[in-house]
């Protein structure tokens, strides 16, 4: 079967359309689960057939589309995209399962979730910049609706802020894509939006200033999505107001698009930019700033979900730092951090969702001792929090360890700064656990129930996966390392690092 990737994208798209048209909740959620499950199966097939030892594109597909612009529908996977495709396909069915009890406009709800899947899969697989951009933008729309229809009290503000903020960033990125495209066109005289082709021709640009401008525009597009401090303020708002499923998808998948961009686009052109040294420092500063800033802000939060949102910022800072270090293992560590954070943050947001649902509040001070009535949740939440604070044996540790250890070669100062964050990271996680989950039960909450079985089940699966990849990261780490090595061949050749 040749067209597995397009099939993988088409099935949820079809599923989304059918889901929109269904009338009952049962139909909607069954179809959503079925189609996302099918997509998962295909991605597992792809995963099992994937050859981790080569860095070239596998399962490539190409169909002509807009010939006059040189656009064609190109899809393919390599070690950068494959793990994220897998992650998307893991997270979405579990999100559907988690949100099994959704009653408000269920058909739209599940349909939008499936659309998100379509969008992120498209982003992670398309190899044509035009198509990439289209999927990149498509992702925004379902999320906007997820926040603004199923969101919390300030959903309007948050949804629109999310939309405009990230849209502006994408448009800036679009400008850079134009420039790349034009440049490549000038070189060859043939219009072509092929991603690798455009990136390869980046080095031909003569003006160093223009090179840096293009680079920064692309970087900006990705950093906003990640999000990195100081472009992060849309994230806490969006998370706080989004429904749990929305938060999960936002944090687990949408943020990963930014990181994906770093590896797919930024790193190949970094050595050829006008002033690589400065740009590397810039990325490193932003990375460390995000780590520390996110940590301290998380420490200041009263709302559990907001705290988790800031922890996302902090964790995504590691991705930037690892990418900026330009060491094969730090880069693969950063890729693994993306994968791992996707799983972990899903658990965290699901926990927040269950608590909100059962206790009716997420304010840490208003909770207290809920472990008494919600033992299963407390257990899984604890597991998630521990994974999030980088406990060894869970996937987050592997990623952070690789990043810290390997980034030290090129960015020692930044690594030392990042290390300071670790204690405080543990601090806010444990503080929240202690105040919200442990301690004396707050009788004001009334009698609360443990999370529903499907929610607990999906969280449990995620926790198992976190532990699995924490003990055995190789299934995804090997392919990441292969591609990181290939990416950094450029860098070494160019003499950016020695």
């Amino acid at each position: 079967m040749a067209a597995l990737i397009s099939l993988m994208i088409a099935i949820p798209l079809l599923g989304a359309i059918i889901t929109f048209l269904t009338r009952t909740r049962e139909q909607a959620r069954s179809i959503a689960l079925l189609t996302s499950g099918l997509s998962l199966v295909i991605s597992l097939i792809l995963f099992s057939r994937f050859d981790s030892s080569i860095s070239t594109i596998q399962f490539g597909e190409s169909y002509p589309w807009i010939a006059s612009l040189g656009v064609s529908l190109k899809f393919g996977l390599d070690g950068i995209g494959m793990p994220l495709v897998l992650l998307s396909n893991i997270v979405i069915p579990l999100t559907v399962l988690f949100a099994w009890g959704e009653t408000k406009q269920a058909n739209q709800f599940y349909g939008l979730i499936l659309l998100e899947l379509v969008g992120v899969l498209g982003v992670f697989t398309s190899l044509d910049f035009f198509v990439f951009y289209i999927f990149w933008e498509i992702v925004l729309i379902p999320m906007y609706f997820l926040i603004s229809i199923w969101g919390g009290p300030r959903k309007d503000y948050s949804a629109i802020k999310f939309f405009i903020y990230t849209h502006v960033a994408s448009l800036v990125m679009l400008l850079a894509i134009f420039s790349l495209y034009f440049n490549a066109w000038q070189v060859s005289g043939v219009p072509n939006f092929d991603m690798f082709y455009l990136l390869k021709n980046y080095s031909v640009i003569e003006s160093p200033l223009l090179k840096d401008a293009i680079f920064l525009a692309l970087l900006f597009g990705f950093l906003v999505k990640m999000p990195a401090v100081p472009f992060h303020t849309w994230l806490p708002d969006a998370h706080v107001e989004a429904p749990t499923a929305g938060s999960v998808i936002l944090a687990a998948l949408l943020l990963k698009m930014g990181g994906y961009g770093l590896f797919r686009v930024i790193l190949p052109i970094l050595p050829f930019s006008g002033s690589p040294g400065k740009l590397i420092s810039l990325m490193a500063i932003i990375g460390v700033l995000s780590i520390l800033y996110g940590t301290f802000l998380a420490l200041a939060q009263r709302d559990l979900k907001k705290m988790v949102a800031y922890s996302s910022i902090s964790h995504m800072g590691y991705v930037t730092l690892g990418a900026a270090a330009l060491i094969p293992l730090s880069v693969s560590g950063a890729m693994f951090q993306q994968f791992s954070h996707g799983l972990i943050t899903a658990v965290l947001f699901m926990s927040c969702g269950v608590i909100q649902h059962s206790a009716g509040t997420r304010i840490i001070h208003d909770l207290g001792g809920i472990a008494k009535h919600m033992p299963k949740l407390a257990f899984l939440m604890l597991a998630g929090f521990l994974a999030s604070l980088g406990l060894p044996g869970m996937s987050g540790f592997i990623a952070e360890f690789l990043i810290l250890v390997n980034s030290y070669f090129t960015l020692p100062t930044f690594v030392i700064l990042a290390l300071f964050g670790i204690v405080f990271t543990a601090g806010y996680h444990l503080w929240a656990m202690q105040r919200a989950v442990f301690g004396t039960y707050n009788e004001k909450l009334g009698h609360i129930h443990d999370g529903a079985d499907y929610g607990i089940a999906s969280m449990a699966i995620l926790v198992l996966l976190i532990i699995f990849f924490g003990l055995n990261p190789n299934p995804v780490l090997t392919m990441m390392t292969t591609n990181a090595n290939q990416l950094l061949n450029f860098v070494v050749l160019r003499g950016v690092i020695t």
């Binding site: 807009i66 006059s68 289209i134 603004s148 629109i160 405009i164 849209h167 448009l171 800036v172």
Partner: protein
């Protein structure tokens, strides 16, 4: 000399006249059939244009030409008219004067089509006036409605002023060049570059810009547009925003682009400033509107700003982008106004004496009350905001991209700045579109679900299919636009 290529204009004229005749003969009740007749005429004309997309020809001593540029704009005009006519079948149902209405629409379409084909200033002027005058009447078609009449009056006054300005400009052009035939004029300018410093040229050009700019609703010639779009019957607003506006663009493409290139005046900067001011103004003012029609009007001004970026660099690519965006905008804006008309119908069916039919409050819960309309509006809004895959995205993409190319090629920082402003503007526009989307999908409905009348739905879906279709399969349209642009030889 065969006039076969002019068949669409001829068919529409005949159908229009027959409709007037029919109106005199048949009973008021059976007048509801006239709409279908008009639509049939439009479909035939449309089919003919589609068949002759790549045809070339020239008529009446070179006063009219058929070329890809004219054909693609005729396509736009015919599609818009068709949508408007179909929607009007519901909108003007049981109206005693609907025969005149349809006849006027068809005649104004003929006017627009003449402008699209015009190769002579006289033909251009005549077509312009034919289209304008029909639309003046259409804008004031609801004779009992003060808003409609006021809209018509304002439209008329500013419109005649602009016609006069345009005529004055044309007279100067004629005076300088001694001809009214556009190719001759261009040739003259090309061979007499010394004239470029002659202030008559500049004044003439600016008068022409003013005349066309009025139709395009460019700042500062835009003032009529919000009032007129708001006051006119929604279907007429649709025609004005989607069709008549494009007439200004095709005229500008025909005359201005060439003339300006020929005169070799470097007015890039001036046009850039006009375009930037136009889009920013449109977007900023649109933010605080409560009337959807008014909001759409301002958004239409903003879109005009984007399209007129094509004049800034005047490359084949940019003109193609402008044409594409014009095509896309015709579909999106036309569809959006028709959807607003449907909402007005819905509000009226709740309460016969309702005022402010297009108030944003009426859109609350539209997703539940009229799902097709709401979804279509969603598509239009997202497309207008330039979200892929849609006609709006493709148009903007090609356009912005062509300007970036020029910016890179000329190493021009301010051109790049123009693109950045344009891009930020298009992000800003999301703000007010999203507000309506929120009303439609987030807020609770304040009424029962309604049955959406079939004619409206057909018209809207036509636009939706076009909007998304161009977004998904843009290749033939890009080709068409490129061909059209190549006619200009820029």
């Amino acid at each position: 000399m065969s006039y076969g290529l002019l068949a669409p204009e001829i068919i529409l004229t005949i159908v229009g006249l027959v409709i007037i005749l029919l109106g005199l003969l048949i009973t008021d009740k059976s007048k509801n059939m006239i709409g279908y007749f008009g639509a049939a005429g439009l479909v035939v004309a449309l089919g003919y244009v589609l068949k002759t997309m790549t045809a070339e020809g020239s008529f009446f001593y070179n006063a009219l030409v058929i070329d890809p540029l004219s054909q693609i704009f005729k396509l736009i005009f015919l599609i818009v008219s068709l949508m408007v006519v179909i929607a009007s079948i519901s909108y003007f149902k049981d109206n005693r004067n609907q025969d005149e209405y349809y006849a006027l629409i068809l005649l104004s379409t003929v006017g627009m089509m003449v402008v699209a084909s015009a190769n002579d200033l006289v033909a251009l002027f005549v077509g312009f006036e034919l289209a304008s005058m029909s639309t003046y009447v259409l804008a004031g078609f609801e004779k009992k409605n003060p808003a409609s009449l006021e809209a018509a009056l304002k439209y008329f006054i500013i419109g005649s002023l602009s016609s006069a300005l345009m005529l004055f400009g044309m007279s100067l052009v004629y005076g300088v060049t001694g001809s009214t035939n556009i190719p001759v004029i261009i040739e003259f300018f090309k061979t007499n570059p010394m004239m470029a410093t002659n202030s008559l040229d500049i004044i003439a050009m600016i008068f022409l810009v003013a005349g066309f700019g009025f139709k395009m609703a460019l700042v500062p010639f835009h003032m009529w547009a919000p009032d007129t779009y708001e006051g006119s019957p929604s279907v007429v607003s649709s025609l004005l925003a989607a069709g008549s506006k494009k007439m200004g663009f095709v005229a500008a493409f025909r005359v201005l682009v060439l003339a300006l290139v020929a005169i070799r005046i470097d007015i890039q900067m001036t046009f850039a400033i006009l375009a930037v001011i136009t889009m920013t103004y449109g977007n900023i003012v649109a933010i605080s509107q409560r009337s959807i029609k008014r909001m759409l009007a301002y958004s239409s001004i903003a879109q005009a700003g984007y399209i007129s970026l094509a004049f800034v660099v005047m490359t084949q690519m940019s003109v193609a982008g402008g044409v594409l965006l014009a095509l896309g905008h015709a579909l999106m804006k036309g569809g959006a106004f028709i959807a607003v008309a449907l909402v007005g119908y819905m509000v009226l069916s709740d309460n016969r004496n309702a005022k402010n039919l297009d108030d944003i409050g009426n859109f609350a819960g539209l997703g539940k009350r009229a799902p097709i309309t709401a979804f279509s509006l969603l598509v239009f809004f997202l497309a207008l905001a330039g979200i892929p895959p849609s006609a709006g995205f493709i148009g903007k993409f090609v356009l912005f991209y062509s300007i970036t190319i020029e910016a890179v090629a000329q190493a021009s920082n301010w051109l790049l700045l123009v693109v950045i402003i344009a891009i930020l503007n298009s992000a800003l526009s999301i703000y007010y579109y999203a507000r309506v989307i929120r009303y439609m999908y987030v807020l609770p409905p304040n009424g029962e679900k309604i049955k959406e009348p079939t004619p409206y739905v057909v018209a809207i879906l036509l636009a939706v299919i076009g909007t998304i279709g161009i977004g998904i399969y843009p290749e033939p349209f890009i080709q068409m636009a490129m061909n059209a642009a190549s006619v200009l030889g820029v």
